[in-house]
């Protein structure tokens, strides 16, 4: 037998063993699944028809979700930009870069839901901890993307502007920001979509908004009401995608070369 074939079989065996063990850990059983499918379909029946009379109650939470997402994206992008400046090797000293990059990597590894649990524990329920949690949640992803974009700015351009006597703040304002503007805008808009989805999830642990409606409709066994909330969420997510797509195209074609 060839060596590669043995290797392949060994790999398959390892994967199969891992799968088997994982299935034991997760209590996977076909019986439970088939029963679950029956139960699940029966349950989905309970969710219909949606209770549209609850719709007026959903409007404010839906708007609140969008507002939370918008503010969190705004503050988050702002925060991320400062972290990105600190984390870019071409304008920041080595020690600051390492600290900022370490913080961003740690934040990326920290699920948003845990940030909100911490903030809810400290600040209580409501949109305030929600906005802060989502804003902090931006830093890991946006900060890294921004700082990569900053590092791609031509070092010689920066040097030449500095050699005409410009200070660091002027360099950031007149060289860095114009050069990374497209990346700044398109990534921030993308993050707005992500934040809209997340704010639905976060609502369920107390940040307010439409996620709260879904979670508590389930808890109160008002499934038809939950369906309405879910439909509203689908609409929100879909709209946030459209809106961000629209602005991305519009703004990018504006900043594009004339």
């Amino acid at each position: 037998m060839k060596k590669t074939t043995i290797k392949r079989i060994a790999l398959l065996l390892v994967i199969a063993a891992l799968l088997y063990m994982s299935m034991l850990v997760c209590n996977v059983s076909l019986g439970a699944l088939s029963k679950g499918i029956v139960d699940g379909i029966a349950f989905l029946g309970e969710m219909f028809p949606p209770d549209f009379s609850a719709l007026p109650d959903m409007i404010y939470p839906a708007v609140e979700t969008i507002m939370i997402s918008f503010l969190a994206t705004f503050f988050g992008a702002l925060l991320s930009f400062f972290f990105a400046l600190a984390g870019a090797s071409n304008i920041s000293p080595m020690w600051l870069k390492s600290i900022s990059r370490f913080f961003m990597a740690t934040e990326r590894a920290l699920p948003e839901i845990i940030i909100i649990l911490l903030l809810v524990a400290a600040l209580g329920l409501g949109p305030f901890p929600g906005v802060i949690a989502l804003a902090i949640g931006c830093i890991g992803m946006l900060g890294r993307l921004f700082s990569d974009a900053i590092e791609e700015v031509n070092a010689k351009t920066i040097e030449s502007v500095q050699s005409a006597g410009a200070t660091k703040i002027q360099v950031i304002q007149y060289v860095i920001i114009p050069e990374i503007l497209p990346s700044l805008i398109s990534n921030t808009l993308f993050r707005f979509e992500v934040n809209t989805r997340l704010s639905v999830l976060l609502g369920a642990v107390g940040a307010g908004g439409i996620g709260y409606e879904i979670f508590y409709s389930f808890q109160l066994l008002e499934y038809e009401r939950a369906t309405t909330a879910i439909l509203v969420v689908l609409l929100l997510v879909f709209m946030s995608e459209r809106v961000s797509d629209y602005f991305r195209k519009k703004i990018l074609s504006n900043t594009k070369l004339k």
């Binding site: 002027q170 304002q173 007149y174």
Partner: protein, 261 residues
């Protein structure tokens, strides 16, 4: 007016790259610095605008009838001196996503108040002056284009306009035509030449024939010393003397560096 007095520069390991370079340049001079690679041309230029400090020697630049030594100045004083030194680079070094006019105005960032640049930006008078700088290099029609959409020759002219806009007392050009085709290279030389009536223009060039055609003075460097300083009618013998070893050197370098690559 700039006077370079016997500058030397050694590496950290103690190898001397510049071995005492001296020359004077005044209004009316369009100096072309020639020399094989490794002769110290670019290093000399970096010393002239303070990007590198020479190990010994003085570089005296007269600004507003006061003589400053850029080799000694640091921090704020150095920044103030640099504002009065226009530099044009081989790679243009423009901000690609800003308009041509804005790129010219950036040349004066060092001369305007930090607070104003942050909140108000440039004023209309500066825009007007920047536009006039563009007129001097004859690309005012491109003023509102994004730099990224320009050709190399146009970008270099924008860079020259940016340097002019600084109202410098001296203009340095580090291989300004190295990245350009012959037609554009000639255009750039034609734009640089008249500027020397207002301030000394010092350029590093790779093409001796172009330099001798447009410059009115040639300084040739070899192994960190000045081997020729005089008018631009350079002889064939001189060229052989300057560049003669280069071919041989390139061959040697290829042999040495091949296994590393």
């Amino acid at each position: 007016m700039i006077e370079v007095k016997n500058i030397t520069k050694s590496t950290k390991e103690g190898r001397q790259i510049l071995k005492g370079i001296s020359f004077k340049a005044k209004k009316g001079d369009f100096i072309g610095i020639l020399g094989p690679s490794g002769a110290g041309k670019t290093l000399t230029m970096r010393c002239l605008n303070g990007l590198t400090k020479p190990t010994t020697g003085e570089i005296l630049i007269t600004i507003d009838n006061q003589v400053h030594d850029i080799a000694k100045n640091k921090g704020k004083e150095l920044r103030q001196m640099r504002q009065k030194i226009g530099v044009v680079f081989q790679g243009f070094n423009l901000v690609k996503r800003l308009s041509v006019l804005e790129n010219v105005m950036i040349g004066k960032l060092g001369q305007i108040n930090q607070f104003r640049s942050l909140f108000k930006g440039f004023n209309n008078e500066e825009a007007q002056k920047a536009y006039e700088a563009l007129e001097k290099v004859k690309i005012e029609k491109l003023a509102k284009r994004k730099v990224a959409s320009l050709s190399g020759g146009e970008m270099q002219r924008v860079a020259i306009a940016r340097a002019i806009f600084q109202e410098p007392v001296i203009l340095l050009a580090d291989e300004p035509i190295a990245n350009l085709d012959p037609t554009n290279a000639k255009k750039i030389m034609k734009r640089l030449k008249p500027l020397s009536e207002e301030m000394p223009v010092i350029g590093v060039f790779h093409q001796p024939e172009i330099a001798s055609k447009y410059c009115n003075r040639i300084i040739a460097l070899k192994d960190g010393t000045v081997v020729y300083d005089g008018n631009s009618d350079i002889s064939e013998d001189l060229l052989m003397d300057i560049y003669g070893d280069e071919l041989q050197e390139i061959e040697n370098q290829a042999l040495v560096s091949a296994p590393l690559a």
